[in-house]
Each structure stands twice: as C-alpha cells, then as structure tokens.
Symmetry: C2
Amino acid sequence: MGGDSAPMIEVQGAVAAARELSDSVEIVLVGDEDRICRHYDRDEGDRLGIRIHHTTERITMEESAAFSFRRKQDASIVVATRLQKEGEIDALVSAGNTGAVVTSSLLTLGRIAGVLRPAIAVLVPTPTGHTILLDVGANSDCKPVHLYQFAVMGMIYAREIFGVADARIGLLNIGEEDSKGSEVAVQAYRLMHEARPHLNFIGNVEGRDVLKGTADVVVCDGFTGNVILKFAESVVGMVMQTVRSGVEKDMKIRLGAMLLKPVFRRLKSRFNYEEYGGAPLLGVNGVCVISHGSSSAFAIKNAIRVAAQSVQNRISDRIKEELDREQAESRVLG
Amino acid sequence: MGGDSAPMIEVQGAVAAARELSDSVEIVLVGDEDRICRHYDRDEGDRLGIRIHHTTERITMEESAAFSFRRKQDASIVVATRLQKEGEIDALVSAGNTGAVVTSSLLTLGRIAGVLRPAIAVLVPTPTGHTILLDVGANSDCKPVHLYQFAVMGMIYAREIFGVADARIGLLNIGEEDSKGSEVAVQAYRLMHEARPHLNFIGNVEGRDVLKGTADVVVCDGFTGNVILKFAESVVGMVMQTVRSGVEKDMKIRLGAMLLKPVFRRLKSRFNYEEYGGAPLLGVNGVCVISHGSSSAFAIKNAIRVAAQSVQNRISDRIKEELDREQAESRVLG
C-alpha cells in the first residue's frame, strides 16, 4: 500500500507475475481489500491463485520508519513481514517506504546467523550488462568487516540470480593503490585481499570505473552508495534537460532530439533498474525485495520474479553456508 | 611539469593569461627551462614579464605523493610551493599530480591558523550556473568539525571569487531529515545548524539535489566527494557511448546525433570545469589551484585568473578572519 501509485501498480504487476509464473509462484496481496479489488478481475485472480490478506493501515513515504513500525502494526509492510516470519509467505516485494521495509524486515525476520549488517543491492548499467552495487542505503556507518560481508553477499547474489560464477569483486575507493582511501576502506581492502582466491577480489575501483563493468560486484558503505545512486539519476536528468533547453531554441536541434528519442528512452531505462524490478535486502532471514516507489507494473512483475528466484535458489541459506564455511576456516570476521 | 601534456599546455595557458591579465599578473614558469622554451616566443614572453625558474625534476601522475615529495626536492611542484613560502610568488597553479600538490602545499606552506584540514573545492554545473562542492579528495576521513570548516571556507570562496553574498550551504546526506545519515553527518548538521544565521545553512541535500543548484555550496567528506565527481564524469561518458552505439546501427540516429553535436559539446564542457580552470586547495597558507591533468590552455588561463583573484581578494586572510571571529564568539570548533 506504500508505493506512489499503490495499490494499482502493485496489483497489475502481481497479476502479470501470476500469469507468467503461475507454475512456481503463488501471490498474496497484502493491503486494503476494497482498494485492491478495484484494480483486477477477481475471477481471473482466483484462477491464478491470487489471495488477498486484508490490512487496515499503510506507512507513507514521508513517515519515520522506526516510529511507524511501532505504531502501525497493521500496516501492509509490517503485516507482510510478519506473514513471512510465520511461514505464510516466502518472500516480500514492496514499492513502499524503503526505511520501513528495512526496519520491519530487520526487527521481524532478523538477520541470517553470522551476518552483521544486511545491505541493499542495486544493479547499475554497464556496456555489457550490469554491475551489482551494495550497500546503497541500509547502513550509513560501516566497519571493514561489514564491507567484507557485503562482498560475500554480493558474490552469492550474482551467482544465484544472474549465474555469474566467481564474480569479480571491487571495493569502491578514491584510488587504485591498496593504501588509498578512508581507514575503513584500507582495512576492508586487506580483509578482501586475504579472502582470495575464494573471493575473487580485483582490488579498488574508482567512481569512474563503476559503470565500466570492470567488476561484477562493487562494495561500498550505504552512505556513499546512496549518494552516488541518487546523483547518477540526476546526471541523466540533467543530460535530458540540457537537450530540451537546446531544443527550444533551435529547429535543427529539435529535429536531432526527435531522431534520438529511442536512444534517450533506452538510456533512461538502463538507469531505472526496472528490468530487474527491485533491490534485494541481502542478509535478512528471508527474502525481501525493495522496488522504487515509482515502479511500473513491469518492474513489480520483475521484482516478483527476482524474489521467486531468491527463494528457489535459497539465497539466505547460501549466504549462511558461505559465512559458516569461512568461520570454520577461521578467517577473521569480527 | 606534471600535467598530461606538460609543459606545452601550461606554457600556452600562461602566455594567454599574461596577455589578458598583464596589468595584474606576473607569471613565473617553474620547470625545465629547455623544454619550456620550445613552446613560446621568448621575446614576447619577456615583454609580458614572463620569467622561468629552472628545475630539473618532475613528479609523474603515478608517483606516491609523500614519497616523491621527500625524494624530489627539485621537482617543479615542490619548488613552486617553496617559492610561494619564500614570498617569491603569491600563488601556485598546477595540472600535475594532485596528491603531490596537496602534500607539498601542506608540508611547505602549512595551514591557515585555525584551519584543521584544507579541502579541494570544485564547481559542478547547475541549470543556472554552478555549485561549489568540497571536499573532493584531500581528506578521506572527516570529523564533523572538518565538514563545518569546509562550509565556512566554501562560503568565503563563493563570496570572494563568485560574488555570492550569503551563500546557501547544504550538507550532502542520504535524507533531508536532520536525524539522517552517518554519525559524522548528523553531528556536522548540528554544528552548521547552530552557526545560523551567520552561516546560511539550508540543511541536508541529497545526491539528486547537487546538480539542481538548491545550494551554492555542498559540503561532504573527501571520500564521498571524490567518488561522486569521478562517477559523474563516467555517467556523461556513458551517455555519449550509448548515443554512439545507437549511431552505428541507424541512419536516422546518425543524423540526430549530428544535429545534436552542439548540445553534447555544451554538456561535456559543463562537466569539465574548464571554464573555471581549476580547483582551489582552500585552507592552506597561500593560494594553490589544482587543474585537471588533461586541462586545455584555456583551462590553465582561467585557473591563473582564479589564482590571481584569490590573491587579490586575500582569500586566506578572509578564512582566517572568519575562524578567528567565530572563536572569539566561542562557538564550538574542536
């Protein structure tokens, strides 16, 4: 109920997912039953096995996550996480308040044993595909070991969802040399370096390298990740705006812009991650995929697909196994 | 001697500056005399008052700053900083190794009394002009009071060089609320908030706001600043590349790209700061302007202009006065 066009877009995306993935996915729509019902054909929904779990409250985009979690125990996000905890559902997809999804997942589902901090992973476009960037906002302050665990979780996400064996891991930093950067970055570098060859750590990557695709997974603290992600969106916006402002003045440029429309459309779509639908919160004891508040139904459908794959490939178990194995090999983790 | 096309571009820029600013500026070229002389007409140079200070060494882009500073005491960067310390010159402009310029300036010129950490300030484009962003790389780890001082130095730079009275100061953060972000950001917010109305602090700005121009000065730690600056360059590069890859396939897109060339040219120039020529290292006891290694002669000329304005408007004195005044009013600074 928390997305910008909720629940319409969510319902449309869920129906599309149910049609496409009906063999493997059962959808439960968690929210206001009356409002949900306005947006789809119940008969078809029943045939597709879509159920509704009625809730009375919603958390808006503006509300404080911690406060609304305590106060709104019947909010759709809170109820959906509880349903997952109780085993009623296997995964949660939400286009609502990111902070509320993170808080509710953390406090209700808890963390995978061994994981110190869950992290949000997004996909950024590269010339040949995409790079996984994490954390982009769950943790403002990170210790080296947190960054190290992000690398491990990113590696498993790359492998289980995108089939990338032995993902190349890069540490976002301000220079390539191992002595560069903040104290946290220098120590995280060492942890990742020591974890080779098990972790395919390729070293520091600079801001300019993220979009080049030199790494399959780029690790950073949630402060830096969040800032650059939002900054990137605005750079693309600025490009568009510069073109538009030229367009107003000049016929030739107007024609040029018209001809280039398909290129700009492609460009915009490469940066809005809709293809992949959402950003998983890796490290919680369950599956939680966060979609952009302004997601399309197409994005929601894809987020449901990613959530289903995460359940099928047992991502949380894989993360736990990896950390257990490392602890057994007594590599530094604390 | 350290720029990508040194000393040719530097000499051409210096000659252009001497022609344009001959009333107010005397140029001293610090570097290998033989190589410098190949790139300009000595007769005209003499008329313009250009002098050469011969040095035998240079620090390359790849060299470690601290190491090369100790080992290469006759490197052009090191000698130029020493000449400033000795009062032979008033300001330094370099397109060489940024780390070496920062190290040499810090160790030779020292900091302005009261300044805890000098910071590098760049200009990023906005719809109506530009925003000053600092620090972009001099300090990977920052305390709240460092960020606070960056705000003060940014305010003075905006006022003395760009004539912006009462510059709007924003703190780069991951949300607008005062409780958002890293511990350092939360505390820096409080320091800046308490400094109002003397400091025109408008609160947190997010990554997406930097290019909108909502603030005249955006403050962040040097790690985040460096990462987003380099990331921004690569986003523009990616836009170009996406257009080019479309161009190869389609005649209509080829025509569109041709017609839009002036727009793309404008776009690229908005992001490479050449208009302003360089980034001052604010807070050192002197004037030090760092230009991009791949600067054009036009950029070098403009960097010299900024350096001259910084001397004429006595930026370092203004920073000192501001910090003194604050200490006298016993606002928290340590």
